[in-house]
Amino acid sequence: MKYAYYPGCSLRGTGRAYEESLLAVFRSLAIEVQELDDWNCCGATTYLSVDELTSYALAARNLALAERERMDIIAPCAACYLVLNKTQRYIRDYPDIKTVVSRALGAIGLEYHDRVRVRHPLDVFLNDIGLEAIAAKVVRPLKGLKVAPYYGCQIVRPYATFDDQRNPTSMDQLLAACGATVAPYPLKTRCCGGSQKGTLPEIGLHLIRYLIAEAQMNGADVIATVCPLCQFNLECFQKEAGSIRHPLSIPVLYFTQLMALALGASAATIGLQRSLVPVEPVLEAKEIAYA
C-alpha cells in the first residue's frame, strides 16, 4: 500500500530534521510514500481562530487531492493531523460546512467523498508495520538511552483512535522496540503552549520550563517529540526557560530521528546536526554510534 505524504509547512522550515528522519524511516521500513501533489497549508490553528469556514475548505483541498489518488494521508505535524481530522468530522456532522466545502472544491474541479483516512506516523509504524517487524530491523539498539516521550496535544486529543487520550503509549512502544529505555513522564500530553511563546512570551515560557524540568528530574537523556512546534519550543527556548530557576540542558529530538538512528541511518541524513542542543555528547556517553 502506498501513502500520500503530507509534510505541511513546518517540515520545510524549522522542522526539517523531522522530514529528513521520517523519510529515512520510511525507506528503512520499506513504506512506500508519494508526496501529495501540490499540497497547500492546512490552515493550522491560526486560520481556525479567524475564519473557521475557510480553514475547512483549505484542509479539504488536501483531502480531496489524496482521495483522487486513492491513498491514505500520512500527516506527521500534530497541527496538520488534527486539522485534517477535524475537517473530516465537521464536514460529516454539519451540512452547512459540507455545502461550503463542496462548492469551494467544485470551483477548482475537485470532489471529496470522505474516502480518505488521515494517519499519523506513530499509527502507521505501530499498526501497519508492527513492533516486531521494526525490532527485527534495528541494527543499532539505543541501549542505555533514557528517553522522555513527549506527545503534546493534538496528536491523541481529541480525535485519535489509535492511542489512549490520557496516557498514550504508542511512542513508548516504538522507542522500546528500538532498544531505548522509556523514562516515566507524567506530563507527556501537557501542552507546550503552541505559539504562546511568540504571542504571550512570559506565559509560554513557564509551560515550556515545566516540561523540560520534569523530563530532567525523571532522569531522561533526551526528549522525543512528535510535533514540529513542540520540538521548537522545548529546544529553542530551553536556555531562556533555564534562566527562571534551574539551568536546563537536554537534547530534544523527533522520535523519528531516534528510530532512524536505531535503523542504521547516519547522523547527517537525519538532521542531527540541526539541533541547537547537541545530542552527540549524549550518544557518545552511551556508546551509541551515529556516524
Partner: protein
Amino acid sequence: MELKRTVKFEADRDPEFARWISHTVGGERIRHCLQCGLCSASCPLSLYMDYTPRRLMHLSREGFKEEVLSSSSIWLCTACYACMVECPKKINITHLMYALKERAIEERFYPKRFPIPVMAQQFCRMVRGSGRITESWLIVRVFLRTAIWRLLSMSGLGWKLFLAGRMPAKKEKIQRQDEIVALLDSVAETRKELAL
C-alpha cells in the same frame, strides 16, 4: 478610589449573544454544562485566566458578551483539547474558544498592537498569496507590526536556526496558486449567499 459594581444584573445580559453561542458550530450542547469545573481543572492555562473555562461557558450562555469577549481567557487558550477530553457533557469547549476568538476579532475586542490577531491576519494573507507558510517570513511580518524590539531580541535565535538550515530564506509556494484564490473566493461567496 474607583468604585465598581461587582455583581451583574439580568439587564446587563445580551440575549442575542447567548442565542448566538448556542447556535454556533460546537455550541449545541453548551446549555448542558453542569458547571462541574473539570475543564478548568485540566486546563494548563486556567491559572492565568481571568475567567476559567467553566466560568466562561456559563457567562457566554447567559449572554454576558462584554465580559466574555474582553476576557483574556480566549487569547490564552492554546487549543490543547485537554478540557474536551475531560468534559462529562462532551461540550466542544475548544471549538467555542475559537468561535469566541473569531467574534472578538470581528468586533475588535482586543488591545492595540496585540500580536494574536495580527499574526492571524498575516497568516491568512500568506496563505492567499503563496498557499503555504514560510515561518521565517511570518515571524518577521508579525513582529514588524507589533513589537519590533522583539524581532531584535529574537535575532540571535533566528541566526542560529538559519545556520542550522531551519530558517530558509526562500519562500515556499504551491504551483496552482490560482486554485487557492478560487477556493477562498468561493467560500466567501457561499458564506454570503447562505448568510453563515
